[in-house]
Symmetry: C2
Subunit: 307 residues, 2 copies
């Protein structure tokens, strides 16, 4: 997935000079590497403004995994002058030294860019590793890992105004497709920004309109430290749909952009059955949840019963 975009000598359509550059077939645009950086930053800036995600006075917590997407996001936000702090959750995934390499990349990046960084350890929080946790909860690893990370992050950023994540167009279009295939209620909550709801911080996805191959190119041009390994535990339906989205864009350039933008434009036209998902505070920790006890507390209970 997200192959490298081939570099070549081109006439840049933005600065008109003949230089090393790339052809972005999704936009039918040839740009030199320097203009690409601006083009990328502007797309992110426009996304932030269009969806009224946050402004320069707000305190922003960037969830940084150490992969290309979250690293590119942190760099763009810093360069655009936003007030950001980095939060990394070490997943403890030791296959192929994944968690270790990710943490290293994040530390290197934070140091290079002189950004405040806080690191949490998932294993410290739930006492066991994520594979076992998934087995105990009888759920997919990716689902449990995501749930725990969201919970921890939300708890850690009390003094912040918003949590931003590096979800890209590939991610968003992939989950939209999956929601449409299974007609999941989740689609109701799918939007580039979700406002604060009691104990749930505001969340925003400023990379929602850029492709992963662009975040990769951005990191490479700027030689940003990032961990190029995909998570060794990833898989399942999520990956299946994301792969399809990738192939779709390769086969029919710009189709993914129009798919996702079409959804954003038409979402209000869907007249969903009014089964509104009601969120109430968890009886254990107060985190907003659709059940009596939130998934995180239920997982912790299951684990402590076993240990």
């Amino acid at each position: 997935m997200s192959e490298k975009i081939k570099k070549d000598l081109i006439r840049c359509r933005l600065c008109q000079e003949i230089k090393e550059g790339v052809y972005l077939k999704s936009y039918n645009l040839k740009v030199c590497l320097n203009c690409f950086l601006n083009f990328f930053k502007k797309r992110v800036e426009k996304t932030i403004e269009k969806f009224k995600m946050f402004d320069k006075k707000e305190k922003i917590a960037v969830a940084i995994s150490g992969g290309k997407d979250s690293v590119a996001l942190a760099k763009v936000l810093k360069d655009l002058g936003y007030n950001i702090n980095l939060f990394h959750i070490n997943t403890g995934i030791d296959d192929e030294n994944y968690a270790e390499n990710s943490e290293k990349a994040v530390k290197k990046f934070a140091e290079k860019e002189n950004l405040p960084l806080k690191i949490l350890n998932l294993k410290d929080e739930i006492k066991i590793d994520i594979k076992l946790a998934a087995k105990i909860s009888k759920k997919e690893i990716c689902g449990v890992c995501g749930m725990v990370k969201r919970y921890l992050l939300n708890r850690e950023v009390k003094d912040f105004d918003v949590i931003v994540t590096g979800h890209t167009l590939d991610d968003e279009a992939g989950s939209l497709l999956s929601s449409l295939i299974f007609w999941k209620e989740f689609m109701k909550r799918q939007w580039p920004v979700l406002k604060e709801e009691e104990s749930l911080k505001k969340r925003a996805k400023p990379l929602t309109l850029v492709f992963e191959k662009e975040t990769k190119l951005f990191c490479e041009i700027l030689k940003l430290p990032y961990n190029p390994q995909p998570c060794p535990l990833r898989g399942g339906p999520y990956l299946f749909f994301k792969n399809f989205i990738y192939t779709l864009e390769e086969e029919m350039p710009s189709s993914v952009l129009s798919f996702y933008k079409g959804f954003l434009k038409r979402k209000k036209e869907f007249k969903w059955e009014e089964k509104k998902i009601k969120l109430e505070p968890c009886q254990r920790c107060g985190y907003l949840t659709s059940a009596k006890i939130c998934s995180f507390c239920r997982l912790k209970e299951k684990i402590s019963n076993l240990l």
Copy 2:
């Protein structure tokens, strides 16, 4: 696509006997070959009844291409006691003798089943072959071929009550997916049956809830004559989405069924912008169209200007 379902010695869940049979993973069902035939027929019969497609008093025109789907459809309808006539349009596609082989299969089937058959030649009607027609109209071959076949069939069946086609779940889910990706208005008209509108005959798709691998198995068990060649000119987005649907079902059995059924169930919840497509009679031939002159007459005009 639509690979063979592997035959094996199984205990049939319907008749309980140990016999040669198949495992249908979409329904998590092991059935012997004989029970499969009944199972398949019943699914088609239920689809016809559920969507109130037609009854045994109506005169039915079956559009038969000679492929496994339309052949299976004609056989099921005959066995269920419907009053059917066959209509075959020879597409004139001579690559790999496709049109010739298809016509042969249809003739053999009609003779074997003692069914009335009418054959039309697409080339006689538009004077040129379909590849050239597609070039002239600057459209995809499949689109032009489909449009011409629909037009000719509609014209030929004046004395009939309904046209039925062999569109399968693979076809319908594929075009639904394509409509969702591009947010096409077409989705509004996507339904297993479309009622008569002035000059447009009622149309129905009784195979809308069965997979192509099932129509293939049905034909093979009964040794029905059909042309196993896929159309040598097929391709484009249609094939791309259909292939995805096939892979999706292989990866996540029954997901395609729930995708399409979910759409049927929720379609009424979509509150489309009320840009109702208004159909008016073509000024040349009277066929209902959304333009002043219908696509078929426009194509014929373009052709006669060139000849």
